[in-house]
Amino acid sequence: MSKPIFKVRKSGLLSTIQDSGRKGYQQYGIVVSGAMDPFSMNVANFLVGNKGNEAVLEITVMGPAFKVLDDAVIAICGGNLSPKVNGEKAPMWKSFTLKKGDRLEFGQPLSGARSYISLAGGYDVPLVMGSKSTYLKAGIGGVEGRALEKGDVLHTSGKIDGISGRALHPDEIPVYEKELTIRVVLGPHEHAFTEEGIQTFLSTPYEVTPQSDRMGFRLKGEKVEHATSADIISEAIPLGGIQVPANGDPIILMSDRQTTGGYTRIATVISSDIPYLAQAMPGCTIHFREVTVEQAQEVFETNDRFLRTLEKVSVR
């Protein structure tokens, strides 16, 4: 039964409901959206006993504040945005019980950019085209297609009781560094760049600029040189696609990217590195490293096996 859990006292910078995204509608121009850091989303869900792709609350840099309206099991994973319950430090990467009347709030961002709050039983918002993910530009998903606002009440579907006190092994908790190496598969438009341009891209550091959001991360660094025009006939653009417009500054396309685009793309970030990238704040430095698609899929296998094991011990 649907049960009110959180009353929003402070909305935070950008707090939205997200799941694994809207799949199957890209051919109609529907943006995928979904959690920027799917690893943290999955783990947060498994820890409370949910399915991995159940909707979670994605909070950004400056987190929200809630009054707890009823007992509930939650977990907080991802960037450390200093979660507190009744003023005391709250655990991360571990499920715990909130009591009716508690205050859940966030403080200084200590590491990463985004945190995920899972709720046993999931957040009770309607499915739009098969997903609960919020897509602000089209005003769909989540809470009335928008970010959380003061006064909103979030409900759980109440289908499960949840499991309190289960934690991810400390060795498995990701560390979000200010300087990170991101693996990419080159292409599909390598031919549109000079050899020097590709060398520049792979060997010099790029800084994440403040013009970075759920749609894409704009980078600053050595210009990537084109051999041909920077424009192409519009085609589908994947998550992690790195487009380089005529000005030579790369842009990494993230969850809220448009489905199609008309700029040359030098490479694609491998899916296993997206969660780390999603936690990069403006000012962070990125080094790109080339891998083959076969290597990328080996990494995927390893990570996938880990998540499946976690799922097996968690979800009942």
Binding site: G24, Q26, Y28, V184, P188, A236, I270
Partner: protein
């Protein structure tokens, strides 16, 4: 002609069917996508047809890049030498031209040395191929507008354009599916919803099919709007036979 295959990271593959925008290339892409729909490959999540490419997204724990590429090559092989007749649909889009809903009609006419009526007759009653969908939810990239009514974008883009607005930008024509800012020259508006996120059919149009604007009066425009509100309106479609000559 053989297709080119490119990995897009570890979860996407791009098939390149040509280097130029053409109806022939579009048709081959559509046939390929139809095959994928009829004979699903385990691990394939979805695909996106575009002007010259088909992009397929997949789960690498279900199928590897190389295994998928091989399957797609086989599929392509089977299509070679096939002469297919594909039944396309024409979506009939009733459009109220000019007046308050098409305030740039006069500018488009003047720019091209035509009367407003001539612009309408060139723009309407013609089948535009929907090459691809994208840009915003439900937006069709249409091909085939006459150069005679081509008009550059507005110098001052509008902050707000009503859904259903029909516009011209350069040699392109299109319909805004949802309220958005934009620089297109607006020549009319359709009461038909191209995008209805909570409806049974969220997106009306599909790439590979056609769209035809049919002029209506203000009265008809308002009537259709009302009947859409009551949930009684059904968009008309017509079948269109297009033969495809596949060269192996």
């Amino acid at each position: 002609m053989k297709l080119d295959y490119y990995p897009l990271g570890d979860t996407g593959i791009q098939l390149v069917f040509g280097t130029e925008i053409s109806e022939e290339t579009n048709r081959r892409i559509r046939m390929f996508a139809d095959e994928l729909a009829q004979h699903p490959i385990d691990g394939v999540v979805e695909w996106v047809p575009a002007y010259t490419t088909l992009t397929i997204y997949y789960l690498p724990n279900k199928i590897s890049f190389n295994a998928l590429k091989q399957k797609l090559e086989e599929l392509d092989e089977q299509q070679h030498g096939r002469e297919a007749e594909s039944a396309s649909l024409v979506y009939i889009i009733p459009t109220y031209y000019g007046d308050e809903v098409g305030s740039d009609l006069e500018f488009v006419a003047e720019h091209n040395g035509l009367s407003k009526e001539e612009v309408i007759s060139i723009h309407a009653n013609k089948d535009y191929l929907i090459y691809m969908m994208g840009f915003v939810p439900g937006f069709p990239y249409l091909g085939g507008m006459s150069e005679e009514i081509a008009t550059p974008r507005r110098e001052n883009p509008r902050a707000e354009i009503e859904p259903g607005s029909v516009g011209i930008a350069g040699a392109q024509t299109g319909v805004y599916p949802l309220e958005s800012p934009g620089g297109w020259q607006l020549i009319g508006q359709t009461p038909v919803k191209l995008y209805d996120p909570t409806g049974e059919r969220p997106i009306l149009l599909e790439s590979g099919h056609y769209l035809r604007f049919v002029p209506i009066s203000k009265e008809e425009f308002l009537n259709i709007k009302e009947s859409i509100k009551r949930g009684e309106y059904k968009v008309e479609t017509e079948e269109k036979k297009v033969s495809v000559h596949e060269v192996g």
